[in-house]
Subunit: 113 residues, 2 copies
DNA sequence: AAATCGCATCGACATATCGCGATGTGCCGG
DNA sequence: CCGGCACATCGCGATATGTCGATGCGATTT
């Protein structure tokens, strides 16, 4: 067998995707902002509870000062790397950290690097 | 002041360089091989003691199956990221892991990611 | 139903990275 | 002093990434 959960996805490929996603200062910073949404973003956008649903793209966009399309694709790459979880609520897409995967990544790096 | 040792080098830039260098399966694997040179490489090339001086480029090249120029530039990027230390002895360049920096990187990632 | 909002996706262009062969360079043995 | 070895650097074409504006699309508001 290959692994536990998914089909063909090798562990090393996942690590590589994560490292590629993290090898960009802006994406790392956005991941950092998501550590404390309430401290980093004004309330009132998207669904009510920032901590539960996460932060929507337009808030990240304004804070980052990049084009909307850029932020969207950045978040998509972080999601593909399993570092964040995106959830659409109404017309907003909320992103929050995937703490389990982040912790797992650190663990794997600590063990295999 | 900016930091301790070097001039303008921001910490975030260093982390970014390290992550970029690590965002490549072959470079990660080469770093892995250097964890135990004696187990992964035959003796008799370069300077005598693999553990002390490290592994020379031609050994890495043969094991990786890549062009010599590729391996050379890969090791250079790992060295620029402070993940390995290169030392020229005679006509060979030996590379060994920079354990302190690797540990520091993991620590920083664990703290700031 | 139409206008609008929030976001994803689509080209497009500039720059960076991948990996190679060829060429340059320092060091060594004869 | 010369040829060869180990490595670095250069130049190259192919692919990937950064970043944008424009367009598409589902959901919402009017």
């Amino acid at each position: 067998m290959a692994a536990a959960g998914d089909g063909v996805t090798d562990v090393d490929d996942q690590v590589n995707d994560a490292l590629k996603a993290l090898a960009n200062p802006i994406r790392r910073q956005m991941l950092g902002w998501l550590r404390d949404p309430r401290a980093n973003f004004p309330t009132g956008q998207g669904a009510a509870d920032l901590d539960e649903y996460g932060v929507c793209v337009s808030q990240l966009q304004e804070k980052a000062g990049l084009a909307q399309s850029t932020v969207s694709s950045y978040m998509a790459s972080l999601e593909r790397a399993d570092l964040v979880i995106g959830a659409r609520v109404g017309k907003w897409t909320h992103y929050r950290r995937n703490e389990e995967r982040i912790a797992r990544l650190i663990e794997v790096l600590d063990r295999t690097l």
